[in-house]
Symmetry: C2
Subunit: 160 residues, 2 copies
DNA sequence: GATATTAAGTCAGTAATATTGACTCATCGG
DNA sequence: CCGATGAGTCAATATTACTGACTTAATATC
């Protein structure tokens, strides 16, 4: 058996397809009950998450992360603003920009949703162990696009 | 710093949220161009994948894996059958069942879609290394539901 | 300073994926 | 025979997303 690493076997990659499908399905699903109670969807959660992780992010930058159109984000964002979860403020340098931040209720909601996902992810991390978690990160990081990798590296330098 | 493992830090879990979002987004996206050319969507890909991995699967079992309703699957499945990608045959023991299999063109299409994802996943595996891949699997396996874990373990026993 | 570009928002129409609810039909199991 | 099950169908609706066309305000460029 020569090629153990140069050319990952089909079965290995088939397993990865299954793993990603189920893990992503159940991880995202973890917050759904809390979202439903508020009449919100996963799109709202994604917006809350990335605004929370990037206080003061511009609409254009958020669109680039989510990879959706302006019209699609508008629906989600206007609901979040109407409900008082997200605040907009004009950019200081460029007043055309609307810098997005979570309000206090918005941060609390995002935290609640995060906690539901934490219930699933925390035990998984503990069970798998630090070494496995490191491998988990390395593989996921290698799967994504360059631009996403750049984002990850900028936001999660070792230490924080 | 006492709790290094018992209670994974927020920042660790925040990173995981980002990693899962971007990796899943780009991994699933890899097959989109090929799907678009045929006027098919991701839902068709998922059905093709799980029928391909489970030849002779019943409709009920497929619904359980995909976690969608019968009506939602019907749209996707009838299109795949109409186009000759999926064949249905009555169960031998229970003739109410419609056992689903990929036709030869269906298997070829599924393979093409798989190849697009392989282009993304294969290099990621090679770069990250065998140890990282093992950790990747362990963490994803721990994230998913019991039923999904059972599925994974049944389909991917070590050896194949 | 006029002009082009950019950031953001909006209106309209449509598509893909999914849902709930209410049925039908054939077959299986007791 | 009869209730339960596997599968399919019709209808209406929700969520998330899209393309295309425009407007407004502010910045950048010539």
């Amino acid at each position: 058996m020569p090629d153990s690493k140069a050319d990952p076997a089909d079965t290995d990659l088939r397993l990865a397809q299954d793993l990603l499908f189920f893990a992503y399905r159940d991880f995202t699903n973890a917050a759904d009950v809390a979202l439903d109670e508020l009449g919100l969807g996963r799109a709202h959660h994604r917006a809350l998450h990335f605004i929370g992780r990037n206080p003061g992010i511009t609409v254009t930058d958020l669109l680039g992360i989510l990879r959706i159109t302006k019209q699609s984000l508008a629906r989600v964002l206007s609901e979040l603003v109407d409900r008082g979860y997200v605040a907009q403020s004009p950019g200081r340098a460029d007043r055309r920009q609307r810098l997005l931040t979570l309000t206090e209720p918005g941060a609390a909601l995002e935290r609640r949703l995060f906690d539901r996902q934490r219930e699933r992810l925390g035990p998984a991390y503990s069970e798998a162990g630090a070494s496995a978690v490191d491998g988990f990160r390395r593989v996921l990081r290698a799967i994504m696009d360059d631009s996403a990798r750049t984002y990850i590296d900028a936001h999660h330098r070792r230490g924080s």
